[in-house]
């Protein structure tokens, strides 16, 4: 089958459709995932095709959703949970941190909880409070869950499939402001074999002068920044991390050993964000290869502001380039 051009939302929908069709133990559950197809339509049409027993509208309670998903997983199901927006995952945080993440270790490996928690995240869509956040660091610090975020429709398709197949709990962050970006997706199983594992990073643009590392919505921003930098004569390498826990440090370090410079970008606030872990790790392990300090670009240590300010709050091409310039100036 040839690749098809589709939006990231359509790719996620296709991925869910394919796992629901192939594995009767998979379930989709969450608020408004049924008839409505989710507020972003990621689950559009699934209840119609697979029934209310497979695609379940739940009561409005995130702890209940995650907690009952755990119970369903204990019974042998593979629940795929939708959290409606990033800012609404916190009522379910206790179940994620104290139960979902720990039960495999608690049971010395006897209990597996193949639960996927899909979270549309990030800003840039002009939304009201709680609808634009990037809380991934609050999950990556928690041992026992995997954290990943695709940047393209193709990765959305294949990474979601892999998350569902995985026997570990996965927090799957979907870059909501890229939902309607289009890209080629080859849904042929043979294409699947060629996909790199979801926990690996990928060099999406090779370059010599500096490494830009990002994930999710910021990959596009970094690629765009690299275009601009190229016009100014700077050859930037862009690494799409894809996985936030684990981080594929091997790929990042390999890149940095060549370029000697690293800028990490994410939408989340910089303070205690993913960039801190990546900068700390790379600064330690590439100590003698770095010609400049690792710089971090991200949001500020403030609550997500009213949407009229989000353009200033979110790191855009200019802020990425500003950091690139600073790093190159060393």
């Amino acid at each position: 089958m040839a690749a098809t051009r589709m939006t990231l939302v359509a790719a996620l929908n296709e991925a869910l459709r394919s796992v629901l069709a192939s594995d009767p133990k998979t379930l989709v559950m969450g608020e408004d995932v049924g008839r409505l197809g989710g507020v972003f339509r990621v689950t559009d049409g699934l209840q119609k095709d697979f029934g209310e027993g497979r695609v379940m509208d739940t009561p409005l309670a995130e702890s209940g959703i995650v907690g009952t998903a755990i119970g369903l997983a204990l019974r042998g199901y593979r629940p795929i949970v939708e959290i409606q927006f990033d800012g609404f995952v916190f009522p379910g945080y206790d179940q994620i941190v104290t139960q979902l993440a720990k039960m495999h270790a608690r049971s010395r490996g006897r209990v597996r909880l193949p639960v996927v928690i899909r979270i549309p995240y990030g800003g840039g869509i002009g939304a009201v409070e709680h609808h634009s956040e990037s809380p991934e660091a609050l999950f990556a610090h928690v041992a026992g869950v995997r954290v990943m975020s695709p940047a393209t429709p193709s990765d959305a398709y294949w990474m979601l499939r892999e998350a569902v197949r995985c026997d570990d709990p996965v927090i799957f962050f979907e870059p909501k402001r890229r939902y309607y970006d289009k890209g080629e997706v080859d849904v042929d199983p043979a294409a699947g074999e060629r996909q790199p594992p979801a926990h690996t990073a990928r060099v999406v643009r090779p370059g010599r002068d500096l490494t830009l590392a990002a994930y999710g919505p910021m990959v596009r921003t970094c690629l765009d920044a690299a275009e601009v930098a190229a016009e100014e004569g700077h050859d930037l390498e862009v690494v799409d991390l894809r996985s936030i826990s684990p981080v594929d440090f091997a790929t990042v370090e390999r890149s940095v050993r060549r370029t000697g410079r690293l800028v990490v970008a994410h939408e989340a606030p910089v303070f205690f964000g993913a960039g801190a872990e990546i900068a700390a790790h790379v600064a330690e392990h590439c100590f003698y290869h770095l010609s400049a300090p690792v710089l971090r670009v991200g949001a500020y240590h403030t609550p997500y502001p009213p949407s009229r300010l989000e353009e200033e709050y979110l790191p855009g091409i200019d802020r990425v380039l500003d950091a690139v310039d600073q790093a190159l100036a060393h």
Partner: protein
Amino acid sequence: MSGDGIRLLTPEGERVPHPDYPFDPAPEELRALYRDMALARRVDAEGVTLQRQGELGLWPSLLGQEAAQVGSVRALREGDRVFPSYREHAVALGRGVDPLALMRLFRGVDHGAWDPDAHDFHLYTLVIGSQTLHATGYACGMAKDGADAAVIAYFGDGATSQGDVSEAFNFAAVWDAPIVFFCQNNQWAISEPNERQTRVPLHQRAQGFGFPGVRVDGNDVLAVQAVTRAALDHARSGRGPFLIEAFTYRMGAHTTSDDPSRYRDAAEVESWRAKDPLLRLERLLRREGAADDAFFAEVAVAGEALAARVREGVRAMASPAPEEMFDHVYAEAHAGVDRERAAFAAYQASFAEEG
């Protein structure tokens, strides 16, 4: 599920007395109720329009819930405190909050930063159910202060599923907190009908926590006001919490982002249109000769004037200065924020220099 609840006014605009909730407002009070509902409806319609025109990012319409909101807010006394959810525009107006303050939130200019103390009306809360706990703590503080006052906390049918709401019920019950839990059961939580949220009528929830709960016809402004007044008296008199389920209907979309045709029948909406809260009060007013065409025309004019003011106000609303992001993170100085504010200023200045 146990009917439409306590009713003092039929959809046809006829009074039905209720032994437990005697209520006989004077004609001018009836007209004031109507005016409040009509103005709220007009502001709400303007919110929808402004969103369609791109002036607002979002608007959650209260259409259909005017009686539930106006009736309840009219039952409050000065010093009583309101904890709203995010759809309580008529309650906000009833507490003297300027409609433009609401618009600021939905325009993305601020997060709804009116002065809660000036209006005894807390900020809108978007995380479903959270405010019910704040309301309970606040009520507990009122009791500590010996205040002759009560709290009213608004939330939806869907919210009752959240653990926080059950915890609020229980804390309030154990602490005998002076609070009225006011659930606007508008039948839908976005696309999910009541049956997906509860097995039994919502007012019964209270019994399990040991306090009274009643259902009131939420489209009957008289019944809502009478029942809320009684509930507030109950709370103020030290008898603890009270749950009101106002049985009503969300006539519009969940918000301007929503498309209800995906999940509900036009017939259902039609059947509720017959119970319209304004229409039934209008019928009463006309039937009893308490208002004439001139009155309704005057209200309509006032509504247009208000809408015009709102429209102009919204269009004139400036975006905040970007530096403001850093101003209110903490009440006291925070080195991290200060550092970032300085870096931000320097970065902004660098563009200014470049030109």
